[in-house]
């Protein structure tokens, strides 16, 4: 029982991790809690579903279309909802984020209808055994997709010119500009990457729970935010860790305490972390700039 739940938790956790990365990256660059992120995740799932069922594309193509579609949505939000208020106090940006979230949720209801749509069964599930852990094919696909996306992301951030520019921008925007870094490009790029990972998570969730609906991003967005805070907001390894911890805690909690408390568990962990280590597990304690 415990081991079964652990593999469920890992699969769910890797999805949370993917979503949390998008949150944490945008926060790292422009100090914005991007509350539209959950809805980008939802849009990704709908795009992929449409490509799969209406256009009859194979799943891999549908997956990529979902990611690309979300990148376009993410960039449009950055351009039209955030760019005009970049220089304004953060609260203005935050309000724009909430506005954009409400817009996207209602737009999705308009286009795809408010009811839950089922995601077709495309994968025939078999069970595999790994060191006592049982994984279904779908769980393995989720783990493999999430892990490879995270590896690619880590590579981009650590070793490419753009990744270096991103790290600079998050550490000191003014100095980055003066070293010739086009920080606007960096910000858009961050939104693009975050949105594509969010979309990937949304599609994986759609496949996992076989359900896609316009409000699916709300709770997930909130939970991903919690995962990002648990790991230390602004820290990408932190978001990965926070996501996995939350996924496992949630499934174990649902199994051993009560499935009714599933959503509450995330917030209980959040409260504990905020009491014990407010900066998050891998976060730096905030240093005030003089």
């Amino acid at each position: 029982m415990f081991l079964d739940q652990l593999s469920n938790g890992l699969a769910l956790g890797s999805i949370y991790a993917l979503t949390a990365i998008g949150f944490t990256m945008v926060y790292g660059i422009i100090r914005l809690i991007n509350f539209v992120h959950g809805d980008i995740y939802m849009m990704g799932a709908f795009f992929a579903l449409t490509a799969l069922t209406v256009l009859g594309m194979p799943i891999v193509v549908a997956f990529i279309i979902g990611m690309i579609g979300s990148v376009v949505v993410g960039l449009m939000i950055a351009k039209f909802a955030y760019k005009p208020v970049f220089e304004a106090p953060r609260i203005n940006l935050f309000l724009c984020a909430i506005g954009a979230a409400i817009f996207l949720e209602n737009y999705a209801m308009l286009v795809w209808g408010p009811q839950t749509q089922s995601f077709p069964d495309i994968i025939t599930n078999q069970t595999y055994n790994f060191l006592g852990l049982k994984f279904t094919t779908l769980q393995l696909i989720i783990l493999a997709t999430a892990t490879s996306l995270m590896v690619i992301l880590t590579y981009i951030i650590k070793f490419t010119k753009m990744g270096r520019a991103m790290r600079c921008t998050s550490q000191d925007v003014e100095a980055a500009k003066l070293m010739g870094i086009n920080t606007h490009h960096v910000i858009y790029f961050t939104f693009a990457i975050g949105s594509s990972l969010g979309a990937a998570a949304g599609i994986l969730v759609g496949m996992y729970y076989k359900a896609v609906y316009p409000m699916m991003g709300f709770t997930s967005g909130l939970k991903a935010f919690v995962a990002a805070v648990i790991g230390g907001i602004g820290s990408i390894p932190g978001a990965m860790l926070g996501g996995i911890i939350m996924g496992i805690a949630e499934t174990l909690g649902a199994a051993y305490i009560s499935s009714g408390y599933r959503d509450a568990i995330a917030f209980i962990i959040l409260i504990i972390i905020l009491l014990v280590k407010p900066s998050g597990i891998l976060g730096n304690s905030a240093k005030e700039k003089v």
Partner: protein, 252 residues
Amino acid sequence: MEAKEATKSFGGLVAVNKVDMHINEGEVVGLIGPNGAGKTTFFNLITGIYETTSGEINFLGQPIKKSKPYEIAKLGIGRTFQNIRLFKSMTALENVMVGQYCRTHANLLGAILRTKAVRREQQQMKDKAIELLKFVGLEDKKDEIATSLPYGDQRKVEVARALATEPRLLLLDEPAAGMNSREKVEMQQLIKRIQEKGYTVLLIEHDMKLVMGICDRILVLDYGNKIAEGLPAEIQKSKEVIEAYLGKGGAA
């Protein structure tokens, strides 16, 4: 570079008032003045952080009023900061490589696919960054996290990073501030070597020995006004300058 009646005011306070100046290629010009004289504000005007309220600043014949800071770096103005602003969690080498950002062409797709051109460029960037660290005398510390370096070394990394942008004009904002006398001598020698390489340098510094020792020409600001300009020896004798620093009685 040339400034014509460059002025910047913040509300009623005129921080830089109608300053005229020019720097010729290959010159080392010192910018001195008491605290609050407007030296750093003047630097910020040159690098596009502030826009001039009136007057203009031209660089290589182009007005830089409307350019964004990152475009100015591309135009060829590199700078260091009065308070060190290295990218804290990066190594010394990475910090210097960042400086080359605006001089390289790799796009992301190429970087992921690791095309031959990108790999070559990466290698060139790295080689050049190492060369620059060697130039400032820190090649053996290239893999240390920038903020774990001693203060004097952090300044040198900043200089190397500014040089990596391939500046036609290098702005050094108090490079010797907070240094001990041995570090100051090292910094002076470093600036001398930068000059020998043919760079044009505009230097803000409070340490008179350093300024007098290396500058071809000195400009003195006080309350935003240019009060003197000339050779180091002339400045040392200038009545206005002594007054600005020591008050009226000091000139006697």
